[in-house]
Amino acid sequence: MKIAVAGGKGGTGKTLVATNIFYVLMEEGQQVELIDCDAEEPNDTLFFKGEIMHHNDVLLKVPEIDTSLCVFCGKCKEYCNYNAILMIGFSNYIKVIEELCHGCGACTAACSYGAIREIDRLIGEVNQYRISQHALLTEARMRVGVYSPVNTVKAALKLNPEPYMQIIDAPPGTSCPFIHSVVHADYVILVTEPTPFGLSDLKQTVETLKGMNKRYGVIINRVDVPNNEMTDYLKKENIPLLAEIPFDRRIAEVYAKGGLCAQQILAYKHQFKNIVHFINQEICK
């Protein structure tokens, strides 16, 4: 079972929900893995201590051009759809712009002169920690300065072959990093906040998930006064409301210090247990 926690807008409480659900499942003694797929800004390891089990470098195959063999025909440049090869033909000048390379291998396939070989570029790392006997935390961490976290996210999702229950903490937005994080999920928990911004980004995320044929439910975080627009939208779209987390300064304070409210505040221990229970029921429907 793979459950992704996503939300569209940044800062709605994805990590809060993912870490606390993981904690509750761990306390119940389940075999569970939390995977932090927000590789641009991973935070889940701030909340748990554990012994490191695996460290993998994430590498991308990028071309290196041997100018003694290159005839400056320009075919590699023509094949590259990412403008990652710079060539000034008359001056016999050719250069790979590594930051723009997606590692697709088109230039290697294009070259008939054996002038291109591929070298490894370090673009990220995946670290896995053992948090308890049955619980693992896997973190995707993109290297600073790299353009895309996608390969690092894919590497993190693939690391553990064991049939653990997986909680996937997805990145904000709805573009490629988000899609790769949720694509294999059986269920997606969407965490939103009762504001116009939260609703707008929730709608965008729901539209994306519809195109992927995913099942999903919503948690509204920081509920202060009832927000009819949000609940009307959920009713209209027939989206289950999994939980409402109240607006409570204590949650923000515990979170700020790297704590877990399901561990420190009894009421939230019950609430997160209920959320897990409710999601289980939803998934089994």
Binding site: G8, K9, G10, G11, T12, T15, D38, E40, E41, N43, L46, K61, Y79, N81, Y82, H102, G103, C104, G105, A106, A109, A110, M142, V144, G145, V146, Y147, S148, P149, P171, P172, G173, T174, S175, C176, P177, F178, I179, H180, V183, T195, P196, F197, S200, D201, Q204, E207, T208, K210, G211, M212, D224, R249, A252, E253, Y255, A256, K257, G258
Partner: protein, 287 residues
């Protein structure tokens, strides 16, 4: 002058602060660079004077009247986007990166590339000037390129209407859309919050800013939620050559203002946070 508002971590208050700074100006070009979760248009309800379509990537499509299911494309694809399902070669659309390699090497010329063009960007006017924002269609890609398009449009508008300041509201994270947002700007305004996540994400963002060699100022929003950490933030920021220029207290009126489709300056001009933001405006945008 171009100023980008960024944060690393999401939800620290970038858009609320961008909106406040925009409201303090008499004439500004405001740009929403968070193209897959754009929100500022909800506050300012700009006119749609211009609409442009954006090709948010290309996907491979197999013509099965030509495909012999030889599987060569599958061998070449580095994105695991081509699979063999019981002898039938299929494209997994969500994984396709649009690199064209399969279409180039197919011996039967059975693969074509199909443009995705549902994404849009808009330019128009709002109460404090001009506004440009992008909206990436669900599932489409190339956020960085769309940010570039939006910024080009903003520059053209600034020139045409003789507006000096362009304010860019950036996306969360530190990847491609963020780099497209900050490339070539004059100043960065980093909005963080006093949490371990906020500090961690700020430091990664400051490392990116250092690569780009851009002058960076920091605002700590909701600083009173955890004042001890706010001090640590100031020290870490200094170590990266960035200066903390303002502390904004936790203020529930920001959300109330948002619900009323107003910036905090419009909604509650006399509260402490509004005065602090006025000082930030004077310091950053008036110089």
């Amino acid at each position: 002058m171009q100023i980008a508002v960024i944060s690393g971590k999401g939800g620290t208050g970038k858009s609320s602060i961008s909106a406040a700074l925009a409201s303090l100006s008499k004439s500004i070009v405001l740009v929403d660079c968070d193209v897959d979760a754009s929100n500022l248009y909800l506050l300012f309800n700009p006119t749609h004077e211009e609409e442009y379509s954006f090709v948010g990537g290309e996907k491979a499509v197999i013509d099965y009247s030509l495909c012999t299911h030889c599987g060569l494309c599958m061998e070449y694809c580095r994105f695991d986007a081509i699979v063999n399902e019981q002898g039938k070669i299929k494209i997994e659309e969500v994984f396709c990166d649009g690199c064209y390699l399969c279409s180039r090497i197919c011996p039967e010329r059975a693969i074509a590339m199909c443009e995705e063009k549902e994404s849009r960007y808009y330019a128009g006017s709002f109460r404090n000037g001009k506004m440009v924002y992008g909206r990436l269609a669900p599932g489409e890609e190339n956020t960085g390129l769309l940010v570039n398009k939006v910024r080009e449009k903003a520059k053209a508008m600034a020139k045409h209407y003789h507006i000096e300041t362009i304010l860019l509201d950036g996306p969360p994270g530190i990847g491609c859309p963020v780099m497209s947002t900050i490339t070539g700007v004059d100043k960065l305004l980093l909005v963080t919050e006093p949490s371990l996540s906020g500090i961690h994400d700020m430091e990664r963002m400051l490392e990116v800013a250092k690569h780009f060699n851009i002058e960076t100022q920091v605002i700590i929003n909701k600083y009173d939620l955890y004042p001890e950490l706010s001090e640590q933030i100031a020290q870490k920021a200094n170590a990266w050559n960035a200066t903390v220029i303002a502390l904004i207290p936790y203020e529930p009126l920001f959300i109330k203002a948002m619900i009323q489709q107003q910036s905090i300056i419009e909604y509650a001009p006399d509260i402490a946070s509004a005065h602090i933001l006025k000082q930030v405006y004077d310091r950053l945008l008036l110089k």
